[in-house]
Symmetry: C2
Subunit: 162 residues, 2 copies
């Protein structure tokens, strides 16, 4: 792109964290909307239940922020929640850690290319955006599960980043 | 957030357009994965078929870029495609317009607050990010439709922004 706008900065680290927090609030509401048994057992088309999708988000979020921050890519070590209340408790705990650790990312690490978990080579900001996009993608699938169960999902736009 | 990283710029207008283009390529592959009749008729849980979801993306993308660019919020005027080939042709035409018009957004409009379509008051960049997030969200739902039809969806990570 040769336009004059190409190098215009449109998003700060603070904006990016706020976007993510907005999406995490909406994901939390989506977890809450599931009846406990359906959260762990129901899916459509042989896909993973919503509890497994949210477990993926948990295993990505803080480890990615720590990897971008430090260059050390370590897998999430906690154990998998087996009830809705445990999952929500863990979600909130990880949100608090994310809010604490994200602002400590050294500025140069957002643009520095690194191999996330030894596999995905991208600038830090792209790896973080991928975690957010992956959460939006799979949460959208949770909406279909809820609709298939006859449950109204949370409004998408309410918790959208503002 | 009081951290030193708060005001660090992490994304340029060019990066944002590239993210969107990556997502549009993946959405195109998702449209292609549907058999023609299922694209227009199949859904899960009483939701809209995938053709209707992509029609929503079309009605948002270029009109939002034009609105952020000019401050004039005008609804998409074209007619709704009734075949897969028409939908893909329109998709490609709108992608070309997006690529042409996005770089013309005046730099100050990304941060300027405006009321999109007279309703949603946000900085330009937030309105654009919302269009992208909405596409990711509903495309994820198309993945569930494909799985329910026994069709393997495109790999999410292949077309992810890089």
């Amino acid at each position: 792109m040769t336009s004059a706008t190409a190098a215009i900065n449109v998003l700060t680290a603070d904006d990016l964290l706020k976007n993510w927090q907005g999406h995490r609030r909406l994901t939390r509401k989506t977890i809450e909307a599931f009846p406990e048994d359906k959260l762990f057992q129901f899916s459509v088309g042989g896909m993973r239940p919503f509890s497994e999708l949210t477990w993926e988000f948990i295993r990505m979020a803080v480890p990615i922020v720590e990897g971008v921050s430090t260059g050390k890519w370590e897998e999430y070590k906690g154990s998998k929640p087996s009830s809705k209340s445990e999952l929500l408790r863990l979600w909130d705990e990880q949100t608090a850690r994310l809010n604490e650790e994200f602002p400590r990312i050294p500025p140069h690490r957002f643009s520095e290319v690194d191999k996330a978990f030894g596999q995905w080579e991208n600038p830090g900001v792209v790896t973080i955006q991928y975690a957010i996009d992956n959460e939006i993608h799979h949460r959208g699938q949770g909406y279909v599960y809820l609709r298939a169960l006859g449950i109204e999902p949370p409004h998408f736009w309410v918790s959208a980043p503002v």
